[in-house]
């Protein structure tokens, strides 16, 4: 076997080959289509673009050959680049240079070879376009000419350096991107609209415990168990609809360790005609296991501290409360005022702890709201009643302006009550004695607006920007004087925002302040939208309290509207609810339906008769024929289909009047006579 000689221009040839920057690059279609063409045109098994490197020949493009390189010493091309024209070996077995070449004697069994040297732009022979076949064959002048033409096309591509460089740059940036994404401790992937992984980083392979090939090109559904895939599927569907998605997901690592990831999906929109279409999504996952652990520790700490503080406070508050309540005997005036101080400050400490806990819950996102349709009108009435005592202490009158019909909003009633109470107590605290605080509810466009107005000193302008900040109070001495915690408004704002509302205020120094909240009106089924018509009402404390036990919501609403503004109206749909209401407070009148979902209204009489003072009862039901009528004390009986609104009102008036609510009938009269 004859090893190929080194050409005289070898060092320049090598430099030119290097400058082409083609060695060890991925296959490119621009070369592959030419070798495919050559393979087909000449009907040979193998066609190659072979680049002759220092000690090997490396194939930039190959058809019909698995090897991507062979040693230069046994190469045919090493010989081909020594001559100007093509090197044609019709039968290698008959050529002493190649007859014992392992490529001839070995499994490749080369018999035919034709190689046309490829010249680089500077004229050095960097390789060949060559044809190989296991059968000997003739190669005529026409064949040589065709091979020469094809080789010329290959040389054009070799010279196309810009393209080569652009490819190189793209490769480099792809490499850099891969390096970066593989180094970052986060899950990074891009999936197409069929949820196939188009790109994923190494972290994905680690967390899924799979190799590149197992993930690449596969859908997430193929990779996960059906249980694990369920929630992911929903998120993927959502992001493909164009919504960014964020959720937490737990992966179990190879070592059996659970890691929590904060997963985010971002939709990717197409270009041009697809500009409005989601064509895939990026997925980003951050390991938040440690954060979660620390967060849990913080929550546990706060919860423990709060419990540890509450335990001694329970004894202190209990003892002071009992002493002040006279349980331990009458106190001398001086002692009583001291115990009062201790008690007030104890109460404040408790409020402070509660507020700090709330504040922590809000900040940590642990606050869970139970949003459902709440009638804000009824809620503010309750808030007003609940704060009446506090207002009385400060000699401030509470005035309600509310429409007669329910105004439903989506809210957590306990938390909304907390907000209204906070605004009311602030307004009361900053009102002068003898002043008035107005609580108004109205419809404002698509929203329901709640206002708390006081005629206090107003908020100094310099302070207005900080009013919702934590522990901010206009006058440091206010903390002591007013007994606030400095957290109330901060918490209120967070709660209102969480319920989808807005909170704000308007204040004029010396004139007063109005805090307002606006919530989107909820159009829950059954909540009839009615025009808002504020009406003057009597202070809650002096109005008679009516409990209406009735399972039909429409009748409840009608009766509520009839007595609205003149009576404090509470309704119950079931016997159970009625008993709960009776347990919560005193009523001046009970209106009772008989056929209720959980039993007969008559059974409520056992509870009513046990009350002191026993409230009068009006039975307002579908029938007046019942043996129970005789045995029970009933102040009036009205039949639903027969009694007019006027008769019902008259009955309410007369029963209340005889029970000693002299003022009420007139109020009812004046409102409902027309």
């Amino acid at each position: 076997m004859l090893e190929p000689m080194t050409p005289p221009d070898e060092s320049d040839r090598m430099r030119e080959l290097w400058e082409l920057q083609l060695l060890d690059t991925p296959p490119e279609e621009r070369f592959d289509r030419l070798t495919r063409l050559a393979q087909r045109l000449f009907g040979v098994r193998t066609a190659l673009v072979s680049l002759v490197d220092h000690d090997r020949q490396w194939f930039k493009s190959r058809q019909g050959l698995d090897a991507f390189q062979t040693p230069r010493t046994i190469s045919f091309c090493g010989h081909a680049i020594l001559a100007e024209g093509p090197l044609v070996i019709q039968n290698a077995l008959l050529d002493p240079r190649f007859a014992d070449n392992p490529l001839v004697t070995g499994p490749l069994a080369i018999r035919f070879y034709a190689g046309m040297p490829l010249l680089g732009p500077k004229g050095h022979k960097v390789g060949t376009l060559c044809l190989i076949d296991p059968s000997p064959r003739e190669f005529g002048t026409d064949d040589v000419a065709a091979l020469r033409d094809l080789a010329a096309l290959v040389m054009l591509e070799l010279a196309n350096k810009e393209l080569t460089q652009a490819m190189e740059t793209a490769r480099e940036s792809a490499f850099r991107l891969r390096q970066i994404t593989d180094t970052v401790p986060a899950l990074i992937a891009y999936r197409d609209q069929n949820q196939r992984f188009i790109f994923h980083n190494k972290a994905y392979e680690e967390v899924l415990n799979m190799g590149f090939e197992q993930i690449h090109g596969h859908t997430i559904g193929e990779l996960l168990s059906p249980q694990a895939y369920g929630p992911v599927h929903d998120k993927a569907k959502e992001v493909l609809r164009g919504y960014p998605v964020r959720y937490e997901r737990t992966f179990v690592t190879q070592k059996g360790e659970s890691r929590i990831y904060d997963m985010q999906y971002f939709p990717r929109y197409g270009d041009g005609a697809d500009a409005d279409r989601v064509i895939g999504y990026f997925s980003l996952g951050a390991d938040i296991t440690e954060l979660k652990r620390i967060d849990r520790m913080k929550t546990e700490f706060i919860s423990t501290v709060s419990h540890e503080l509450r335990t001694p406070l329970t004894s202190i508050r209990g003892s002071l409360g009992l002493v002040l309540g006279g349980v331990a005997g009458e106190l001398p005036e001086a002692a009583k005022s001291l115990v009062d101080i201790a008690n007030n400050n104890c109460e404040r400490l408790i409020r402070l702890i509660n507020d700090i806990l709330d504040s922590e819950k809000i900040e940590s996102g642990h606050l869970r709201l139970e949003l459902k349709a709440v009638d804000i009108v009824q809620l503010v009435r309750q808030a007003l009643a609940a704060n009446q005592g506090f207002a009385d202490q400060h000699q401030v009158a509470l005035v309600l302006q509310a429409p007669g019909a329910p105004l439903p909003i989506q809210a957590d009633s306990d938390r909304l009550m907390q907000v209204v109470t906070n605004l009311l107590s602030n307004a009361v605290k900053f009102s002068p004695a003898g002043g008035r605080v107005t609580l108004a509810v109205s419809r404002a466009g698509q929203c329901v607006r709640l206002e708390v107005m006081d005629k206090g000193p107003g908020i100094p302008e310099a302070f207005q920007g900080r009013i919702f900040q934590k522990f901010s109070q206009a006058d440091a001495s206010d903390t002591r004087q007013k007994g606030g915690t400095g957290l109330g408004l901060n918490i209120s704002r967070a709660l209102v925002n969480k319920m989808g509302g807005q909170i704000g205020f308007a204040s004029q120094e010396g004139k007063g302040t109005t805090f307002f909240c606006e919530f989107p009106e909820s159009h829950a089924p059954g909540a009839a939208p009615l025009a808002a018509a504020p009406c003057a009402v009597q202070p809650a404390a002096s109005r008679p309290r009516i409990l209406h036990v009735e399972d039909d919501p429409d009748i409840r609403r009608i009766v509520a509207a009839m007595v609205q503004g003149s009576a404090a109206f509470t309704s119950a749909a079931t016997l159970g609810e009625a008993r709960a209401r009776l347990g919560e407070g005193r009523f001046d009148l009970i209106m009772l339906d008989l056929a209720l979902d959980d039993g007969s209204g008559w059974s409520l009489f056992d509870d009513i008769d046990g009350l002191a003072p026993r409230p009068p009862v009006i039975v307002f039901s579908a029938s007046d024929k019942s043996p129970e009528h005789a045995s029970r004390k009933v102040e009036a009986v009205l039949v639903k289909s027969q009694a007019s609104d006027g008769e019902l009102l008259k009955a309410i008036q007369s029963v209340l009047r005889s029970a000693g609510h002299g003022q009420t009938p007139d109020a009812l009269q004046s409102e409902f006579q027309g």
Binding site: S303, L313, T314, R317, G321, G325, R579, E584, S603
Partner: protein, 128 residues
């Protein structure tokens, strides 16, 4: 239908709180209170206490409130006696849990001693 509430079996490990609450319930509420310092003591007292209501602190060393309730439920005398929990850890999830265990009410500490009895009476009256 609502039998009056008279006797309360009360379990609280903190002696100060136990004293204050017992006094509040007896003097203000006019209840008869059998006060126990631990879950075990409650189990010993329960058969003879003829309690109408169980009032249990949640956080106690050894057997906690829910644990005590479970054990009391095994005794014929307290197999279905209504229960109210008292806790200083008032978290919504916890309240829901105790309610799910059948508690009539969950009273948060610190409680108002003058209103405690009313609070319990209301829960008693409201039970379905």
């Amino acid at each position: 239908m609502s039998a009056p509430l008279c006797r309360i079996l009360y379990v609280e490990d903190q002696p100060d709180i136990r004293l204050v609450a017992k006094m509040a319930l007896e003097v203000v509420g006019k209840f008869t209170v059998v006060a126990c310092a631990s879950g075990q003591e409650a189990l010993d007292c329960a058969p003879h206490a003829s309690a109408d209501l169980l009032l249990l602190d949640v956080m106690m060393p050894g057997m906690d409130g829910p644990g005590t309730l479970q054990a009391l439920r095994q005794l014929p005398a307290t197999a279905d006696t209504p229960v109210i929990f008292m806790t200083a850890k008032v978290q919504a999830a916890e309240v829901a849990l105790y309610k799910a265990m059948g508690a009539l009410e969950v009273i948060s500490k610190p409680f108002d001693p003058m209103k405690l009895s009313d609070q319990i009476r209301q829960a008693w009256a409201a039970r379905a």
